[in-house]
């Protein structure tokens, strides 16, 4: 019974959190908590893997006498839940491993109790099989992560990040609450089995989808409800940032998949239009925002927004194909989206671990003060390089495989009958390609400015290599990125039961293909073999190295950099993150961010330095959130007068309210 094993692990995690409050916060207590989290996550991971791969077992369910008295707390592990449990616990185990090596955490008592609780809550969301348990766990996940975001609450801007996160999380839960209320109907059948049995009318189903896109989408970081994410994710300690970006956003994706593919029954075709449009916009805007950032962790957080967009594109395609009865194509699109879920959790966690190692070694998140770390932190540099190549969707690593599958799914779409989709899908394909290319630019910038070049500050010059636990966590995920990239058939076959359960068909088995290729539709249509591509590149590169060193020349001499004959001594003359992004900012940013450059050039004879400043505006914040905040402030100011009335006036108000309510009641009934 996998559900029992995972639930026991969750109970263990909750217990660890409670003990951590009592046990104090010395280094040994912290290590014990992270050690326990690691062991429990690994156990849950093993149980979830067994549940996913053992197709014959079927779903396993249990009811605990908690929660609503007539309902109990229902839990169930089916193929979909098992896959997301794998993702959650894989990320959780790596973050715990990273946590083992943390020294010098300024406020461990604000981190250690909430860390296992956060892991437990994410597991519970995926396990839940009734609306009450789902929402309760969802809120627990929000609050635990909020507490972790506020761990360093005295740092600049962190309090604001926590506030925005709390507001957006409450808003998201409210939307989900309404969605489940609509799903459960007037009789209050809150169990997922009851919801599945009751077929909602098209209007209700559409409303529910909209609410879930708002609720789960805000947690996942869909534009325009993403604003909290780039504030909150970087504010948390780095291993928690990895969990929030790599894993919690995936739990949010799970929420959408569970409702849209499972609970709502048959989809309508126009749902996919909404999801595809949101996904395309999110992918491109996310990466553009990321390109403009100089803060390493914030850049990574904006990249999460981009990748969620890519996942949504896959899900939208799957909805379209499912609605039009194209089961095989739907299975392909859904597999692509879920493959990207796993991939993103791998490389985004890896990159956040790397950013954490850089932060711990230098105390800097600002890329403009880093540089040259490849010489000071060689092992971290290798692992982060793997993550950068993977997230830029370059072969032979894993990010490419899932984007390739998504593109193959897009190529299936001309057979869709609806005109809206026929026109939207190729445009979204173009947006997907644009976001992939921009992601490569963004990670050349991030890696080049942080790890390459010359150190731009004394801290970067004296950085030390990360500790062995952080290195182990990064190495494990870098290895998994490579493994999933060269043996994608393993993952695709592992995802087959999920596709079978959600869209009624599965992709053809891939592991039986010759040479371990992947063939999504048919051999004459498309195929890709990561293993051979990797082997060919490795082989020809080493052949070239051997031949040249053997027969041509192996002499090398060190000398000052050439730089066209004018080597400049100061590291400040290097290209910075801002200057790297300048061409793209000039081309795309003038429209998207209203980017304006101001040159302050003093007249001849004035000894002031010349200055170039760039103005970037976040149009989504200015256009949506700022007006709402102003309206709330305005209303609060007006209503504030009510606090200073005399007792007579209060009594009058109470009386008037009573009369009005009675009148309404009388007229209503």
């Amino acid at each position: 019974m996998p559900v029992v094993v995972v639930l026991s692990c969750v109970a263990g995690l909750v217990g660890t959190g409670c003990v951590a409050i009592a046990a104090g916060h010395g280094p040994r207590a912290c290590r014990a908590v992270y050690g326990a989290s690691l062991v429990l996550s690994l156990a849950a991971l093993a149980a979830a893997l067994v549940a996913l791969l053992d197709g014959a077992a079927g779903p396993s369910a249990t009811v605990l006498p908690l929660g609503l008295p007539w309902l109990g707390a229902q839990f169930r592990v089916d193929a979909l839940a098992a896959f997301f449990l794998v993702t959650v616990n894989l990320g959780g185990a790596a973050a715990s491993l990273y946590g083992l090596g943390i020294t010098g955490e300024p406020a461990p008592h604000r981190v250690v109790p909430f860390f296992p609780a956060f892991l437990a809550a994410m597991n519970l969301v995926v396990l839940a099989d009734d609306a009450f348990t789902f929402l309760f766990s969802w809120e627990l996940m929000s609050l635990a992560s909020w507490a972790l975001v506020m761990a360093h609450h005295r740092e600049h801007d962190n309090a604001r990040a926590g506030y925005v996160y709390l507001v957006m999380a409450s808003f998201g839960t409210l939307a989900l609450l309404l969605a489940f209320g609509l799903l459960a109907g007037a009789d209050g059948g809150y169990g997922f089995a009851d919801i599945r049995a009751a077929a909602p009318t098209p209007l209700v189903a559409g409303l529910v989808l909209g609410l879930v896109l708002l609720g789960a989408g805000s947690k996942a970081g869909i534009v325009p409800v993403h604003v909290w994410l780039p504030l909150a994710h970087p504010a948390a300690p780095s291993h928690v940032s990895a969990l929030m970006s790599g894993v919690m956003t995936k739990v949010a994706v799970y929420g959408l998949v569970r409702v849209a593919f499972d609970l709502l029954g048959e989809p309508a075709w126009w749902w996919s239009m909404v999801v595809l449009a949101l996904g395309g916009a999110t992918a491109v805007l996310g990466v553009l925002y990321a390109l403009m950032q100089h803060d390493l962790k914030r850049l990574l957080a904006y990249h999460t927004v981009e990748n969620i967009g890519i996942i949504y594109i896959g899900l939208g395609l799957a909805l379209a194909f499912k609605a039009d009865g194209m089961g095989l194509a739907a299975a392909l699109a859904l597999t692509a989206a879920l493959f990207h879920v796993l991939n993103h959790s791998l490389f985004k966690s890896l990159l956040f671990f790397g950013a954490g190692a850089v932060l711990a070694a230098t105390g800097e998140r600002d890329m403009e003060r880093l540089g040259g770390l490849i010489r000071r932190m060689p092992l971290t540099a290798v692992a982060v390089l793997v993550g950068c190549v993977a997230i830029s969707a370059l072969p032979p690593l894993n990010g490419f495989v899932s984007e390739w599958l998504t593109l193959q799914a897009i190529l299936q779409s001309p057979q869709l009958p609806q005109w809206g989709l026929k026109i939207l899908v190729p445009a979204v394909g173009g947006l997907l390609a644009l976001s992939a290319a921009l992601a490569a630019a963004c990670f050349v910038k991030a890696y080049g400015v942080t790890f390459l070049g010359r150190p731009r500050s004394p801290q970067a010059e004296t950085a030390r290599e990360a500790d062995r636990f952080a290195l182990a966590a990064m190495a494990a995920f870098a290895g998994l990125c490579l493994l999933a990239g060269i043996l994608p058939g393993l993952v695709i076959d592992g995802l087959a039961p999920v596709a079978q359960a959600l869209v009624g068909q599965r992709m053809a088995p891939q592991l039986g293909q010759p040479w371990l290729s992947i063939v999504p539709i048919g051999e004459s249509q498309s195929s890709y073999n990561g293993l051979l591509v990797f082997a060919f590149i490795a082989l020809s590169a080493s052949m070239a190295i051997y031949a040249i060193h053997r027969w041509a020349s192996r002499a090398a001499r060190r000398a000052p950099a050439w730089d066209c004959g004018f080597p400049e001594a100061s590291p400040a003359t290097q290209y910075t993150a801002g200057s790297f992004a300048q061409p793209i900012r000039r081309v795309l940013g003038t429209g998207v961010f209203r980017a304006r450059e101001h040159v302050d050039m003093p007249p001849p004879g004035d000894p002031r330095p010349a200055r170039l400043t760039v103005d970037l505006r976040d149009l989504i914040w200015d256009g949506i959130y700022a007006p709402i905040a102003r309206a709330v402030g305005f209303a609060a100011d007006r209503l504030n007068h009510l606090q200073f009335l005399t007792i007579r006036r209060y009594l009058t108000l109470v009386f008037l309210a009573l009369v009005t309510l009675l009148l309404v009641l009388a007229l209503w009934v």
Binding site: S526, S527, I537, P560, W562
Partner: protein, 318 residues
């Protein structure tokens, strides 16, 4: 026996692209020189340059890292693998299914990613300017390329280059508006990808106009030789790609025998020559664009690609 013969033919293709690539570069240079009433260097000059560079010692900047030293080989390997997967004289070779057109484009993107990183490794301003502009150009070239791939895949029902080439050679294709648009867009993308005029100038030594040359400014000796060879391979790859997609005549099918292979190889040589002459004429006749005009150029390619795809989505017969 059959398997060994197949692998031999595949190996012959790999050797062929490697050997022909410098020749094509030399040929384009020669034709350009003749068009400008110069004599130009001989056709084998690129080979001589490569041998000379390979024999020289490498001068590394003081702070160059291992990434800087490894990158030339990685770029060469990725480009070589990509170039050997494009049909040259025959379709359906043993390993042709290893990567489809999307994967070949992505392999080139991998090579570019590492080259851009190497440009930033030493920490000079020229390396940075080259990397930054190269990534800006590729940000527009790649989506355009992908939309072209969409067009081809929708027409031929496959992203597998061999299948597409076979389909293009068959009489059922006919003239299509979409394919015409895609061909123009592909040529524009190929010019940008290969750093040719009007996007970039492969012969420039004026620093502020360099893109590709600025990234490789710090390279010397065998490293520079690898990068030069990779650039030649990339040019050959794009000419082969355009030839096998839009001029698939003379392509033979794997297993056709020595005679068929010879015909295919002769046809391939002729196509390369025609492609080289056209490129030289185009480059001679046009001036280089300002860097910030390049997005307009590639934006046009992007729009052509999108138009071609949309036409196909809207009507399967255009």
């Amino acid at each position: 026996m059959g398997v060994i013969a197949d692998i031999l033919v595949q190996g012959a293709q790999m050797a062929l692209v490697l050997l022909l690539a410098p020749m094509l570069t030399g040929f384009v240079r020669k034709v350009k020189a003749r068009l400008m009433r110069r004599r130009g260097p001989s056709l084998v000059q690129p080979y001589r340059d490569l041998v000379r560079l390979l024999r020289k010692e490498v001068v590394l900047a003081d702070n160059a890292s291992w990434l800087f030293r490894l990158t030339p080989y990685l770029i060469f390997a990725a480009t070589w693998v990509a170039a050997s997967l494009v049909p040259t004289f025959a379709t359906g070779l043993t390993f042709s299914w290893t990567a489809d057109l999307i994967a070949i484009i992505a392999l080139l993107a991998s090579a570019r990613f590492f080259l851009a990183l190497a440009g930033m490794d030493v920490g000079t301003s020229f390396g940075g300017i080259g990397s930054s502009r190269e990534m800006m150009i590729s940000s527009f070239a790649e989506p355009a390329m992908l939309l072209i791939v969409f067009t081809l895949a929708l027409v031929a029902g496959s992203t597998q280059l061999s299948s597409v080439a076979v389909y293009m050679a068959s009489p059922q294709v006919g003239l299509r508006v979409s394919l015409g648009l895609a061909a123009i867009a592909l040529v524009m993308v190929a010019i940008a990808e290969n750093a040719r005029i009007p996007v970039d100038n492969p012969a420039t030594h004026l620093e502020l106009t360099m893109v590709h040359e600025a990234m490789v400014l710090e390279y010397s000796g065998r490293h520079l030789a690898m990068i030069e060879l990779a650039s030649s391979l990339k040019l050959l790859l794009f000419v082969s790609l355009i030839a096998c997609l839009f001029a698939p005549w003379g392509l033979t099918v794997a297993g056709g025998g020595i005679g068929a292979y010879a015909v295919g190889a002769a046809a391939y040589g002729a196509k390369l020559a025609v492609g080289g002459v056209l490129l030289a004429v185009f480059e001679t006749g046009i001036a280089k664009l300002r860097v910030f005009r390049v997005p307009d150029f590639l934006g046009a390619a992007l729009m052509l690609g999108l138009l071609a795809t949309l036409l196909l989505f809207v009507s399967r017969s255009l």
